[in-house]
């Protein structure tokens, strides 16, 4: 069962000079219930804009010019602003790359998790919300959750801040969690912990995850399905197993060959590179 179906999504950016940048150009993919879909691509490939389009957080000069985003039979692009505000945070939540800048430094951690509950769960009283916040902090593995409720973000490490971001996102038990490079700014050991945490939460709550990253090794660890984006287009789409065992599109192959593989790539050998002079869009798309 698909939770979300993105159909022919087009998000363009318009410059004052009349130029059009087709950041997301006719992109279609599905996110099955309870599964993790990864979008991989380089900077400028349109992976983050695709995620932002699902949340409808595209600002001027960008605009979603076409397509459909179907969440459980309703087209998100047809919703009014007020209806969309109810979807954000409740049905679809998002975590960002920079845990240092995406928390508000002047509010306590607990207050910021509580904010989502205040907005979307008006039926809960103060005590119930407090319990839920503490539960969320506990769920993401913050020690002494009751004491941490009143803590300000500056007192937390990068890994803990990202856990708090995940707690905010998970507080309303969203159907879809969008994670835009959530571990890129973290150390490897902390990255491993955060990835484990996301898997654990998915197992417990059945949330679908859309994971945006440029790190293929991370994709290999967590993805069920992979979408490879290049200059606004999907060039390859396959299950993680198929994609890594048998990459078909030349761009995917080039990308996979450009990372050194310990034990396989001879030390100090020159790595394969993605060739700037090749137009990878000229090859047929590999949608499996």
């Amino acid at each position: 069962m698909n939770l979300i179906e993105v159909k022919n999504l087009k998000t363009y950016f318009f410059s004052d000079e009349g130029e059009v940048n087709k950041a997301v150009n006719n992109v279609s993919f599905e996110i099955p219930q309870g599964k993790t879909v990864c979008i991989v691509g380089e900077s400028g490939s349109g992976k983050s804009i695709t995620a932002m389009s699902i949340m409808q957080l595209i600002d001027h000069p960008g605009r979603i010019v076409g397509g459909e985003i179907i969440l459980e039979e309703s087209n998100l692009l047809k919703l009014s602003d007020a209806q969309m505000r109810k979807v954000r945070g409740r049905d679809v939540a998002m975590i960002f790359q920079e845990p240092m800048t995406s928390l508000n430094p002047s509010y306590t951690v607990g207050y910021q998790i509580d904010e989502a509950l205040r907005l979307h769960h008006k039926e809960l009283n103060k005590q119930q919300r407090f319990d839920k916040v503490v539960e969320a902090l506990d769920l993401v593995g913050i020690p002494d959750p009751k004491e941490k409720y009143g803590e300000y973000p500056f007192k937390l490490s990068g890994g803990q801040r990202q856990r708090v971001m995940i707690a905010i996102a998970m507080a309303c038990e969203p159907k879809l969690l969008i994670a835009d490079e959530p571990t890129t700014a973290l150390d490897v050991t902390i990255q491993a912990q955060v990835l484990d945490l996301m898997k654990k939460l998915q197992d417990e709550t059945g949330t679908s995850i859309l994971f945006i990253t440029h790190d293929l090794a991370v994709v290999y660890q967590i993805a069920d399905e992979v979408v490879v984006m290049y200059r606004g287009h999907i060039v390859e789409k396959a299950s993680a197993k198929e994609l890594f065992e048998n990459p078909k599109h030349p761009y995917t192959k080039a990308l996979l060959n450009s990372i050194p593989k310990p034990g396989v790539t001879p030390r100090k050998s020159r790595l394969d590179t993605v060739d700037d002079t090749v137009d990878y869009l000229s090859f047929p798309k590999e949608i499996r």
Binding site: T189, A192, L216, A217, V218, Y220, L255, S258, P260, R267
Partner: protein, 263 residues
């Protein structure tokens, strides 16, 4: 020993944090008595997580930070005691490539001037000679001569990193400290810059001290690896031995945390 460039002995950097007027200051031991050698022509990597002291070590070698204790011997002379013309000579031989190619290039200067700056300050070359050298360096790092008059913002991250590399090469250094030179770049661009660094090392017989937290990159390019944890060296070994037989608990933890693609 003739093939040793650097001998680092019991190097320390402690920072004092004042907690209040009547409280004893707290001492943070960013680098805590580390000793190692750097051999000519090798790529020595320092790995560890943020806050482990790897960048502080690099800064002390560059004389951006003064050590609290210990010695850094460069070709036998202690650099912490250098001054005047000896210091200028030292700085010419040790250069750095920074992590962030966006903030380490002056946005108001053209590429030609950025790469020429070390030459203008440290050599007695004429303007014509400098321009010739800059164009030569640009060619070596894979840039086109017509880019001489462009500004940094006209380039992608990978191209900017090439500008930083050309600038570091300008004075014919012996050692280049590479402080996370590819971690801000896309994977495909990372491969290009790593290939370039390897090519230049062979061509100019350079020594690299490579600072990184990306272990698969480090494994690919290093001869030897130092693992740092809380200001101390916990393991120091040839790259192959470290990856095949990590001995220290922390190294094992670090290696098992790397996401791997094994098919």
């Amino acid at each position: 020993m003739s093939d040793t460039i650097f001998q680092i002995k019991q190097l320390k950097k402690h920072y004092e944090i004042n907690l209040g007027l009547f409280k004893k200051p707290k001492i943070i031991k960013a680098v805590d008595s580390i000793s190692f050698e750097v051999k000519k022509g090798e790529i020595l990597s320092i790995v560890g997580e943020s806050g482990c002291g790897k960048s502080t070590t690099a800064k002390m070698i560059l004389k951006i930070e003064e050590p609290t204790g210990g010695e850094i011997l460069f070709e036998g002379a202690d650099i912490t005691k250098l001054s005047g013309s000896d210091l200028v000579a030292y700085r010419k031989k040790v250069q750095i490539i920074f992590q962030d190619p966006y903030s380490s290039l002056n946005p108001r200067w053209k590429v030609g001037r950025i790469i020429a700056e070390p030459l203008a300050l440290n050599s007695d070359m004429s303007k014509g000679e400098i321009k010739e050298r800059v164009l030569y360096l640009m060619e070596r790092v894979g840039m086109l001569p017509e880019w001489y008059d462009r500004y940094p913002h006209q380039f992608s991250g990978g191209q900017r990193q090439r500008i930083g590399i050309a600038r570091a090469l300008a004075l014919n250094p012996e050692i280049i400290i590479c402080d996370e030179p590819v971690s801000a770049l896309d994977v495909s661009i990372q491969a290009q810059v790593l290939n370039l660094l390897l090519d230049l090392q062979e061509e100019f017989n350079l020594t690299y001290i490579f600072i990184s937290h990306d272990l698969s990159v480090v494994n690919h390019i290093s001869d030897r690896i130092i693992v740092m944890y809380y200001g101390k060296i916990v393991e120091m070994k040839p790259a192959e031995a470290l990856f095949q037989n990590p001995e220290h608990d922390y190294t094992q933890k670090l290696l098992s945390a790397i996401p791997k693609i094994d098919l």
